[in-house]
Assembly symmetry: D3
Homo-oligomer: 273 residues x 6
């Protein structure tokens, strides 16, 4: 697969690391219809392209993402308009499911997704990074469950995924007040894995973390993501049972061998994609 | 509905904010039978009264709450006494369910409940605030799973709800040792959303947070609480499916319109209850 | 039951506190086959011995535990060898389940398990302490999901139990990068309950915490562990229902009586095992 | 508690058996607003009245129940009318939950509920008996998921509870086609426990079954219902764990003793309520 | 969308009823790679085409379906071949997920799927119809969990979906013995909704059932399928909560109105797609 | 492993079929303490012995099993006696868990268990066969949830496992009335897979079914049981996900190869244990 080109995203692939940049800087990367669809396509591409071992998601311009484009939100009502109220709501239902699915594409992508966040990360932008594996941010990054200020219930991931990252009590305050949370606090409570002085130092470090992941067994990385996804949503007993089934087929691999050999010879192992 | 009067609680309703104060200050607000029942009634009232958009729960006197009144605990055995051991335990079962239900009333109340805590918050008092949406406390507030010192397993909420707030490992230490945890630590680990120098500054800030919530779309606030309650107990996939069904009926509202208009005109939106 | 003797563990029982020490110091307490099996036996013993009210788990020598013994890992392939690939993987499946079960023995043990960790706590060592109730560590302790460096998916507990302790986002970074996390960070994010300057001060304090637990009602401690285990894996509603059934049989006890009497007389209660 | 009187129900209490008869025969017992509310009240009464050990639910006149009263259904839209579509749907949501709760009262009632059905049992009538413990019917009884003919999705129990009685495939045909199913087929597929030639022979036999239940230990009957309710909705492992907790408090009773003694002396045991 | 054409399926759309016929009669409709993929495409088409209100699935020639094409099964090993055993199994994993997804397309299709079965319905053919809403068959139809005779565990639906149709005990006998079950038995135990003397009478009646469904509110039919799918996999309490959210948005519709009007005027209601 | 000998069971191993016979015919095979323990040991043996591919469980003498031995039941109270009510109930809890575990051993045994039942199968006997894979019975066999007549809630499996076999409504009648259900009815409702004129014809046919299972791939049989056990307790989506993980490691086997070859050559495949 060649690297696809998109109207709202910028893609790069270097050293097994795919960089996916939100690319509507003049709109603070507000998510219009095209961006939702292209995000899904980009992560399907990252998932299926063997050479991609990790993804770094960031935003071009001064902000990570201003959330759903207001014009898209305002066009929703027209888009689902129907003389029958039930059918109108059924169309709205389909539309919400579709938007959710665009973001869940990050979770379905078998390779880790690292979000690097600076400036605004609000509304749909926060829903988006909630579906990433890890989040890194600058000190001036700020996070907001902006939906409450639009008079609506957030419905594409923040209320579902954030409690597992920051706990139930902190999530509720953010959800009800819509207040801005700055980068340092985000790091302190577990939303971000690390906080940086500025975008450049952040990107440099995140690319290094990505490089660390690239150096691991790709098979084990993909398996770990699958197992962690499963464990988040199941009991410990069920999760142990699942990983036992999983590893009975995946444990014995060339990578296990290569890693063992490298340990014995104190060399660096090399793994296939 | 007029504001009800209670023997153990003090109620106020100002600026859409209901204040519910535990009011047995001479007993450090120990929870006697009347208080358990009145708490449920008060939160049913807050839920059903359209003008109430948020609830602030605090304690009169020097402490938030000393937990279950010892006389109530000691009367339990007499209350369930039966010559048949099975029936005795069946009555005890019904009594535990009823006490649990008095506290779950906070969760069922569709409006956010903010607990403002100073001094002692122990035993049943901790079970109580665990069922609130957010917790704020003073530096001299202290939290204790006091039940272990009474020779019993805590059974009205702390062991069930705290792990989602502070994590499994921290909860266990508190549960097994019954040690006091002060306000600052509570904030650091996610039990409290913020910590304050004293009761006055806390109440002032909590009322401001309440006012922030009052200014949001009440419909969206109620919906957000429902969705967060659901998400706490279900997988991400199930939770996304639920909010899609929910919002297909609740998204398109006068509040969405008012909020959009306010954004365009850079004014403050006004919402009905 | 007399205190059993083991080839890889050192056991002591003093003041109702069982000390279980990993005892292959010359191998950094790497977990060979004997150690896996003996860990299970030791915790079955601790569970069944009435005089044991709490367990402290630590490591002899310079490190807590270097993880699975490499020779054991490398013998796995030979151990499950079969000309039929399906049967080979079936044997591997049984072996993984067995190793998981050795560690889940800590969870099944009805008495709290306190892990005291210094130096390396990596790979299987981290899986091991993840199954403990609480974790305490020294500043120089370091934690690593070492499995990723062996080219494999961790399959005996870390990926399943750590998210409930440190949140989903932090777990993922550790799982994908295999980076070392030092004691202070472990405490800050909730993996460890406390961090100490050195092993001696840690052990002294952990034994004191153990003594605190020993002084509580053993019946209530065992019940609390059962209820917390259950709550971790079930919804709040289910968990409340379960503890109501539990306490209808276990609440009324000599310990409740003794604790109440001690409160009234301001004395220290004494409880049977 | 005295036997309450209702406008839409007829109550009797004889030989520990409460008879609750739908009593709008001139309307084929169509469920108007009063009947929904009174059903809940009647089953709360049956639950709380110690002398009631079993409930028989039947219909006066020529039919068991014609379902929701059309006038109630048609008044719904007016009742929830609101200029804001979101609030309108929120009110409708509350109304559906309330109707569901009226029927779930049968399930919450700790005593077995036996529905005796003749003639029409359609729409809400089928939802109603789906919440009973057992169903008995005449040959001329007929069952219909009438909601599909009203242009709506059944939302008060049939689609949720029937699959556990008759299997997923049979439920779907009834739900999509709204076809009439006669008594014999109902018995054959497990919806009804038995089928009778006419109402009189049915009532006589159902009262005998009720008498059989009355003669059992009331404590064990109530416990069995609780355990079966739980088991329907949980895994076998969870259900075994729950009943173990339950019986640890409820097994040892005067009834166990009385039953054992009766077995030894070959007499009939007598149990308290 | 025009009616698509397929190499292994024959499609028709008449009277809102889509007929999808397996069309490799010379191979007893054995499922080759093309058929798996085309089945998914056909049901996506049926889902998205407004004019399709119901689907009838049957087989051309003498049999419904002989299951997975042996050549496909035998090519699997070659297709996933990899020098690394772990990667080989990972590819196999992806392939199984893909085949499962082809059949789950029947479940995801929001319109009811009626399978009309004659002759052989074995292996993958049984997995296929297990994902349909209802099954109808001839007397000479026979069902077999053929996978056990191929030396493998059935992995695309039979073991997962059949227990909900025929109960756990009957499913196990079929799964372990691979025995043939004839049409009459299938009907008796709930696998088939009805059994017919021959293919013609079956098709005629199934088309009539389809016509009955076509005459209902399409909105309510789609909603009912969604709700039944959900209820199969969740507790009664969760399922009631879900349908309440669903119907708060979907209940008030033109179809509800049309149905009510038709009832009053004793006419036949007409619904939009 | 040699065939173990037991005091209450008779074991045989012929043609890969283990016969386990309850062997206290003079007591109608009432389950005393030894029998509970030996049942667990026997099924552990069957699970671990490679040569055992299927188990047939039946009873010597005139009845299958009269249930728990009354003397055991009556000794329970003495066995758990403790001056502390809480500890007494805790011991009872441990005892119930242990008895449950003795029967769950049938489910954990990876080989199918076929119960062949004649005469009485009541109380604990019914709990026992509920944990088998399939049940076959004679016309004069009768089933009873006898526990209700002992004044207790059945707690070792019937209330948990029977609903999955016979549906919720039929289970409730049996549980509340304790009535006898004869063999033909048992077959009709799905408890028994088949019913026979007498014990001899039953045993002959069950051994033939066993022989059919013996002739299948033992690897695929063991896998099928694991997958069916899992599916009973999980959603369809989870179950599909689990079997995909399972088969990615177990599908490609010598048995798959042998079966394919046998199909092509129209011979009978031979499989290793």
């Amino acid at each position: 697969m060649p690297i696809p080109t998109f109207s709202t995203l910028e893609l790069k692939l270097e050293n097994h690391t795919a960089s996916i940049n939100l690319n509507r800087p003049e709109k603070a990367n507000a998510m219009n219809d095209a961006m939702w669809q292209e995000l899904r396509q980009a992560f399907v591409w990252a998932d299926r392209t063997p050479g991609v071992r990790v993804v770094v998601l960031s935003g071009n311009g001064d902000n990570f993402c201003a959330g759903i484009d207001l014009s898209l939100l305002m066009s929703v009502q027209a888009a689902v308009k129907d003389e029958c109220l039930g059918r109108q709501n059924e169309k709205l239902h389909a539309l919400i499911l579709d938007l959710q699915d665009c973001l869940t594409a990050l979770e379905r992508c078998r390779k880790p997704v690292l979000a690097a966040i600076h400036g605004a990360c609000v509304g749909g932008g926060l829903d988006l990074v909630a579906a990433a594996d890890m989040r890194y941010c600058t000190e001036d990054a700020f996070f907001q469950i902006k939906e409450i200020d639009m008079g609506m219930v957030a419905d594409v991931g923040s209320l579902q995924r954030l409690p597992k990252l920051i706990g139930d009590g902190r999530l509720r305050e953010l959800a009800y007040t819509g207040r801005r949370m700055m980068g340092e606090e985000a790091e302190r409570i577990g939303l971000a894995n690390n906080v940086y002085a500025n975008r450049d130092s952040m990107i440099m470090d995140v690319l290094e973390i990505a490089a660390t992941i690239v150096a691991k067994s790709p098979l084990a990385i993909r398996g770990s993501k699958e197992i962690i996804n499963y464990s988040r949503d199941h009991s410990v007993a069920d999760s142990l049972r699942y990983v036992a089934a999983w590893n009975s087929g995946m444990l014995v691999s060339k990578d296990l061998e290569a890693a063992a050999m490298a340990t014995l010879t104190k060399t660096t192992p090399h793994f296939k994609d």
